[in-house]
């Protein structure tokens, strides 16, 4: 039986719109979350979300089906974000992301019940603010690892960084995040 990745690779070569619809639905939350935390701005992330899928359509023939589709997708999203941020101002990604105000990132309203909502929302805002306050490369590694559940090797493939660098970013990023959260609680 044909594996899922090779079916995706074949569909992308044919520019199959039904396959793309399915992939957009399947990866919508993960990709948007990654883009929001990478760019630090929800509106920009939504634009980049659309551009990412257009790029997937146009460059679909380049996906060889030997790696996970999500790794290739995140790499495209990452390159688009970096290109955009570099065009906006030619300094480091981190500096550009820090250009944005450190307001907590906008979160989706999941609407459960009464005080739980308030508590959950407060915690989510605290974590989002802490994430926004740490350097972009650490934030990226943390989101890919702990939110999107990518393996260390996959993160290395997405970011183009050596495995050792990925490990160090994760470790330092987690420590920084814990420090930010402790600071916020104190």
């Amino acid at each position: 039986m044909e594996s899922e990745v090779s079916a995706i690779a074949r569909g992308l070569r044919r520019r199959d719109p039904d396959l793309l619809d399915r992939l957009i639905e399947q990866y919508q939350h993960r990709l948007l979350r990654y883009l929001v935390y990478l760019s630090g701005n929800r509106e920009l992330a939504e634009d980049l979300f659309q551009e990412t899928w257009i790029r997937v359509l146009e460059r679909g023939h380049q996906y060889d089906g030997r790696h996970e589709f999500s790794t290739w997708l995140y790499a495209i999203a990452r390159n688009l974000t970096i290109d955009y941020l570099r065009r906006k101002s030619p300094v480091s990604l981190d500096g550009l992301v820090d250009d944005e105000p450190h307001a907590p990132l906008e979160l989706a309203d999941t609407r459960p019940m009464a005080w739980e909502v308030v508590q959950q929302h407060e915690q989510a805002e605290r974590i989002s603010a802490a994430l926004a306050a740490i350097p972009a490369e650490y934030r990226e590694a943390i989101v890919l690892r702990f939110q999107d559940g990518l393996a260390l090797e996959e993160i290395a493939a997405v970011t183009g960084a050596p495995l050792g660098t990925v490990k160090s970013r994760l470790y330092r990023g987690l420590n920084l995040l814990m420090g930010q959260l402790e600071g916020a609680q104190a």
Binding site: I24, R33, D109
Partner: protein, 160 residues
Amino acid sequence: MMRTAHDEARELFALAGAEDLSRGQEAWLRAHLQECAACRDYADAAGRVVRALRSLPLAADSALVRATQMRVRSRALELRQQQERIWLVCVSCLFVGLSAAITTPLLWRAFEWMGVWAGVSSWVWQAGFAFFWIAPTLFVSPLLLARGTHLASHGEGQWR
């Protein structure tokens, strides 16, 4: 700087999912956490942060998904049409090339015959042949340059 057992334990805890630890590492980490209260606190705090990260609600709304799907479909259609036009241009070029290869010798002979029949010198009928041969190009090229080519006018301006 010397790496202590505490550094190593914290790094292992921060980096590793259950699948990333070897049995030896897992046993060592468990033993160290039993002995070291500070690392246990660190593991608890890190665990709380990771759980909180995983529970962050951040979702794409359905309007964004629908808009993206429509944009992708529309771009796919454009690309397909562009590909069809390129195919048409290639076929036309092939047809024109073949037609030129067949008709050029015949046309040359026709001009030669007319030159002999009219009693003009060979450079006159050869110049006539050359003009006849390049006249369509001379006429069409400035027109295309003035209004842009068919491919350019359909391929540009659609990328947001």
